[in-house]
Symmetry: C2
Subunit: 452 residues, 2 copies
């Protein structure tokens, strides 16, 4: 039986323990509260999908999908994001309009860098709005939600980089990129890397690349939009022109939402995923840039994904969404604030006594604990038949437990216990003698006074 195995979690995965879970759950709760404040309902999908659901959705990143072994039956893969399962769910249930959020783990066979919050199993918090609406109103609300989440998380200064897939497509057309290279060129990588790959491997004309470079270096706010609106090459391209119309509306709405100062209209922003069709955005924080963590959130509009699944022809369920990367947020918040690990237990139930006839009050301690547990009071005891005082105090101290209930050898048979405040360094304090019948009431009162 004593076969030795390598004691580790799979590459790129980690265990979450104690205080880290408290910080993680604080992040989840903060994000979910913002999502719910905007009317979203929660959804949870299986951790794996039928493989054909994921096929053709992720472009070159598809090689990062985890597949389950073929053990008979369906071929399945771990979900790569929460967006494709959402689209599958919408199509499967013929839902044409909804706001939903989903907080769950996703899986990518990428090169991990755990300290930077880049893992193979990691959490995403997604909010999406599905439905046919007047243009750019839900898009603006999503960006507001992103800003509110990052502000509520107190993550420090941040910028939302904004671009439009149709503007990128238009620019590539204007610059003379062949149609077959437009999707591959819309990579999430930095332009220099994409440029080299395109020229060396895909045969892109370097002059075309230089023309693209003159566009993708542009950054700004509403001013950049005005510059592009005066560029006849852009305005005469139908795709780019439609994008400028969207962006004009969006800037108006972002002004109404008082978040223009957070926005950087950045033509170098490209999202790698195939399914985006409209605006795209990424949030970077000062902290994430300093630590090369990359973006803490990203998303965009994907109007055709649900239609790819729908059984009824010509079903269009336009969507726009945001995905927040919990591990990256976690890395930033944890590096800033030390997390205090604390037990939430309120009372340690102890026995004091000695001599060979002393029973150790184990059944009696269980009985007192039982009264406290049934009253909703959080209590622990030492799992020892005849405990000495010191290990009981030490256990209470380790758990930062504020109160002790002590069953004394002479007092307990008279129906009384002592209640003692811990951590006061007053060894002379013997605590208060309390009748067992009054114990719950006494403890609840004391815990209220101590604000515990």
């Amino acid at each position: 039986m004593a076969l030795r195995v390598a004691l580790k979690t799979p590459k790129g995965t980690k265990d979450w323990c104690h205080a880290d879970i408290r910080l993680r759950d604080h992040i989840f709760a903060t994000i979910a509260a913002v999502f719910a404040a905007h009317g979203a309902v929660p959804l949870d999908t299986p951790v794996f999908e039928r493989s054909e659901i994921l096929a053709g959705k992720y472009g070159q990143d598809a090689k990062l999908i985890y597949n389950l072994q073929d053990q008979g039956g369906e071929l399945c893969s771990l979900r790569y994001d929460l967006t494709v399962p959402f689209a599958r769910w919408l199509a499967m249930n013929n839902i044409l309009q909804i706001k939903r959020y989903h907080i769950a783990k996703v899986y990518r066979r990428d090169q991990p860098a755990i300290a930077k919050g880049r893992l193979r199993e990691f959490y995403q918090c997604d909010f999406d709005i599905a439905g046919s609406f007047d243009p750019m109103i839900p898009d603006a609300e999503i960006i507001k939600i992103l800003c509110k989440v990052l502000a509520d998380l107190d993550i420090g200064s941040f910028t939302v980089k904004l671009n439009h897939r149709k503007l990128l497509d238009g620019i590539f057309q204007i610059c003379g990129v062949p149609d077959s290279l437009i999707r591959p060129i819309s990579s999430a990588l930095p332009w220099d890397a994409v440029r080299n790959e395109m020229i060396l491997e895909k045969g892109l004309d370097p002059l075309v690349a230089d023309k693209i470079a003159s566009y993708v270096k542009l950054k700004g706010g509403h001013d950049l939009l005005e510059i592009l609106e005066r560029d006849p090459a852009i305005t005469s391209n139908p795709s780019a022109s439609a994008a400028l119309k969207d962006l004009g509306l969006l800037f108006n709405y972002l002004a109404a939402l008082s978040i223009l100062d957070k926005i950087s209209f950045d033509l170098s922003l490209a999202r790698g995923l195939d399914y985006y069709t409209g605006i795209i955005y990424e949030a970077v924080t000062q902290a994430s840039q300093d630590d090369s963590i990359g973006s803490v959130a990203a998303g965009g509009r994907y109007d055709d994904l649900v239609g790819m699944f729908a059984n009824k022809p010509n079903t269009i369920v336009p969507c726009v969404g945001i995905s927040i990367g919990v591990e990256r947020v976690f890395s930033i918040l944890k590096s800033r604030t030390p997390i205090i690990d604390q037990n939430s237990v309120q009372v340690y139930v102890m026995a004091f006594g000695g001599g060979k006839d002393w029973t150790g009050f184990i059944a009696e301690r269980l009985s007192i604990c039982n009264i406290l547990w049934d009253a909703g009071i959080k209590a622990e005891l030492l799992y020892k038949n005849k405990p000495k005082p010191r290990p009981q105090f030490e256990a209470a101290e380790r758990g930062k437990i504020p109160l002790a209930v002590i069953l004394g050898q002479s007092e307990y048979p008279n129906g009384q216990v002592r209640v003692k405040k811990l951590g006061l360094k007053l060894d002379s304090d013997q605590g208060d003698l309390v009748n067992i019948g009054d114990l719950v009431q006494y403890l609840l009162k004391t815990l209220t006074e101590l604000k515990l």
Copy 2:
């Protein structure tokens, strides 16, 4: 792109939506509160483990493990339960003593029966106590926790079936079962099924089977323990005798915890998993028996599992735990109480107006929503540039939203909006005119009055 795929979740899995998630989260919160009241800390492990971690832990059930495809690198499998990952975590971190809880999905390639809460992907809520302690004290606390959880879930009347692995082993020895058949015979299946398999396929002597049957039909409480203590065949068997000593202590502690009436000492109870070494238990409810759902929770003592992983020789970290099956609890609670789906949004922001010069106040509505969102008030608006009143009221009604803030064509330019209570069927009520600068305060006061 319009490749048609089968729109379904993988066999034995399901999506969780809206109101179901609310009930599920209520179950999680109820269970976690009990676990925390007993001093447990939360743990979360990756959804898959290195396959060798799972190997040799599940006996005949190992065929139900989901493996990941070999895509290079480590061989991994989806977790089958939360117990083996816990033992791996204890050994990996050299933790000798802890109480931890873990609420997460586990995976079994079993025949699903979704209506009965039997799925391939399902939730378990586990609480375990690890550490070397005086005997049966943590075991008693675990059974108390189980009873408290089921009571707090308000699941109806229930019974905790109790048995001891060493008592079963002893009985099999006494009856003359060959050593090689003792593990296979300790199946979770009903005795009749095991008996037939043992006789027909494994060559067990039918007389031996009859002798076993005379024991495994026994059920009772403390009285049954007394009967067994008078059986010289039992008391002269070291394994069975050790079990009786454990059970004697346990019954004392269960009496101190006032839960003897919930216990059925049942010699037919066997748990299939290889790793149990001491007491074992399962909770069945009246509802779960009526609907053939089976047990809603199960667990036991497993003293050797951590040692199978530990790098240091002779490391022993005895453990005892309980696992609660959320889907089965969910089935029972959902069938009993209709769940009301409700939106938690508090305010619907509307525009009233008309005529060709009317803008529809879309930027203005976003701006009012923005003020409410920033004040923590949950608000929605219709994503339409020039909405008519009816679809706005209908949307608010669908979401059961209690208040409307109305931007009127003539009032808004004067810095005022109307606040109207919805759902009152008083169409004559025009609501109150409120200055925009006072709106947040007014709404917070109204929501407090309405207890929302």
